[in-house]
């Protein structure tokens, strides 16, 4: 178990291969700390650099620039084994010719640990993973979900494991088995208090597993924080769009000193205090507000904009209403019992506390 720190990490495959002219960086300016025992997710679309970052943390790749520290010790030059990193891959990696016991015992056997101690430890791990009944089964014969458990078992069997890194481990798992494995991963992390870093492009997996989520885009970290933080307070427009369902509503607007916020041919008002704060950064912004916070009413209300209801999607638990204001489609949630239909006129208001303002993609307020 270790606290992992990345300091000014940059990596370019171009430079690695010798092309030093105008190199392209897979990851840029990475600075992040993961406390000992945290459940972390690296989330982002494919090509964002999360796999590269994982390789740098694991030791498979030495970064072009920057340092990797484990509990304050510089491990940048050390290999994966030397850092005591365990890894679970996208497709299950098990030693087919050995049974489950042999697989889990393998790292300890290679370390020369006494066979009695190995036996005890393997049984402990098997019990946590709920695979004790499979110990005698040849690993090659297991289904993918169980193989991943064995992979994880090999990862946690050593007492000095600093962190367990998981690279999209649910990729080849059957949807029915995914829930169980997802739960098992989280349970192991919580019970054993390992630092576990989970790489994925799936926000469902990331937000369910992690306490700390690092969202990446084109090689840079957009934001790192708890799922709730990312959801409520996205630092970038990308995160506002990517996290949460539906994504954040975005509207280009113009702010005036009297608190008027003009957008798409209509307007509403914010406090003069907020307006003054905003005007320090300019007067054109992109306003973001999560659908859950947009207040929808079939009746005219104060400081609200009107629009025509374009679409009502009823999930049974609540309705997702798309209202066209001017030429913009805005989404909001309405309670199940609200009677609202397509074609109705609706009034939307935006509570000041929940509105975020962005400039050039980044949050200003």
């Amino acid at each position: 178990m270790a606290t992992i720190q990345l300091i000014d990490v940059w990596h370019s495959y171009d430079i690695e291969e010798g092309k030093t002219k105008k190199p392209e960086y897979a990851v840029e300016n990475i600075n992040v700390t993961y406390e000992n025992g945290s459940a972390v997710a690296l989330l982002g679309p494919s090509g964002c650099g999360k796999t590269t970052l994982l390789k740098i943390i694991s030791g498979l790749t030495t970064p072009t620039k920057g340092q990797v520290l484990f509990d304050g010790k510089d491990v940048t030059e050390l290999s994966a084994k030397e850092r005591h990193i365990a890894q679970v891959f996208q497709f299950p990696v098990v030693y087919d010719s050995m049974n489950v016991y042999g697989n889990i015992a393998f790292p300890l056997a290679n370390d020369g640990v006494d066979s009695d101690i190995i036996r005890k430890r393997v049984y402990e791990v098997a019990e946590i993973l709920e695979i004790t009944s499979l110990l005698k089964v040849p690993a090659g014969k297991l289904n993918p979900a169980d193989k991943q458990k064995v992979s994880l078992g090999r990862g946690i069997v050593r007492p000095d494991t600093a962190a367990v890194l998981l690279d999209e481990p649910l990729t080849v798992i059957d949807p029915k088995a995914q829930w169980d494995l997802r739960r098992k991963l989280k349970q192991v992390q919580e019970e054993l208090d390992f630092t576990m870093i989970y790489v994925t492009h799936d926000q469902h997996e990331a937000l369910t597993f992690a306490e700390q989520v690092t969202v990446m885009q084109v090689g840079k970290i957009d934001q790192t924080g708890s799922p709730k933080e990312l959801h409520e307070n996205p630092e970038s427009m990308f995160i506002g769009y990517f996290i949460g369902s539906p994504g954040m509503n975005m509207m280009e607007c113009r702010v005036e000193s009297d608190g008027t916020v003009k957008f798409n041919g209509t307007f509403f008002k914010i406090s003069k205090k907020l307006a003054a704060q905003l005007l320090e950064h300019g007067n054109e912004f992109t306003l973001g507000i999560r659908p859950e916070y947009v207040q929808l009413s079939p009746e005219k209300s104060k400081n609200a904009v009107s629009g025509s209801v374009k679409l009502v999607e009823d999930t049974g638990a609540y309705k997702i209403v798309t209202t066209t204001v001017g030429t913009l489609d805005l989404k909001s949630r309405a309670p199940e019992d609200m009677s609202i239909s397509e074609g109705d006129t609706a009034w939307l208001s935006f509570p000041e506390e929940e509105v975020k303002f962005y400039k050039d993609g980044k949050k200003v307020i």
Partner: protein, 289 residues
């Protein structure tokens, strides 16, 4: 339902070719095996008498014995050697193309040309082997020495066919995802353990294939011994197919027919046994649990 039946028509040409080149000749052989046939005379139905004669004949058993020795020894060398070559071949870069070409050359040469080239090599007067052997004081004579002949044939086969094992193993080796080596590295496995627990199990399907191919192929070796030594000296390099062919050429068709069927039967049974054994061998090797 209409569509299903029409599909069979597409198979007719292929079926016709197969019938002509394989099925009908096979039936002819079966027919021969059940009769006494001598040139000119009328074939006489004798049931299984030919089969009994064949199995009692010490010449047949001798040829079979030599064949088994040969096949076993080449398998024992070609498989490990092929794997070793595959593992030492480069995985990337220009070296790959060069190695593949070098390995490919012995495989591309027609069998009879191989035989002729090695006959030249092994000529006691002008051959390369005789010359090199004389440097270490050994008098090499492939046509007279009963040890030199089979050994030369053995070397010929190893040269000719190890590349096949190597290429198959190489393909299998390249297919092993990197993740397995990473995992083994993290698990602290030594190079030997990586070979034993990652490479070998992953190569198993390919090796079973290579093993069976080499076994079946070596069991019917014909052109090379014929061209190298004509089966001699004596019968030291007369293996099964040559033996049966000679019997057929001397018009002992009944005997030859029976011998070939027994020969076929042996190959099928042995292949089946090996196949089952090799598949079982890989999976389920367990640690104490």
């Amino acid at each position: 339902m209409k569509y299903d039946n029409r599909a069979w028509l597409f198979l007719l040409p292929a079926l016709a070719v197969m019938a002509l080149s394989a099925f009908i000749p096979l039936m002819t052989v079966v027919n021969y095996s059940l009769h006494y046939i001598f040139s000119g005379s009328i074939p006489e139905f004798v049931g299984f008498a030919n089969f009994v004669d064949v199995m009692r004949d010490s010449a047949f058993r001798g040829a079979l014995g030599r064949q088994l020795m040969f096949s076993v020894s080449i398998l024992a060398v070609e498989i490990p050697l092929g794997i070793a070559i595959a593992l030492s071949m480069p995985k990337k870069g220009i070296g790959v193309a060069i190695s593949l070409v070098l390995l490919g050359i012995p495989l591309l040469i027609p069998y009879n040309v191989v035989g002729i080239v090695w006959r030249l090599f092994s000529q006691s007067d002008i051959g390369l082997i005789a010359e090199v052997m004389s440097w270490v004081g050994y008098e090499y004579n492939v046509s007279l020495d009963p040890v030199d002949a089979p050994v030369t044939l053995f070397l010929l086969d190893v040269w000719h066919w190890t590349p096949l094992v190597a290429l198959l193993s190489y393909a299998g080796y390249l297919a092993i995802p990197d993740a397995f080596y990473r995992a083994a590295e993290i698990d602290g496995a030594s190079r030997w353990k990586v070979f034993r627990f990652v490479i070998l199990p992953k190569l198993r399907p390919v090796l079973v294939l290579a093993f069976l191919l080499r076994f079946m192929d070596s069991f019917k070796i014909y052109a090379e011994p014929l061209l190298l030594t004509g089966g001699g000296p004596g019968n030291t390099t007369t293996f099964m197919s040559l033996f049966v062919a000679r019997k057929a050429q001397s018009y002992e068709l009944g005997y030859a027919g029976a011998a070939s069927l027994i020969y076929l039967f042996i190959v099928i049974v042995m292949s089946y046994i090996f196949f089952q054994l090799l598949n079982k061998l890989g999976s389920g090797e367990s640690q104490k649990a």
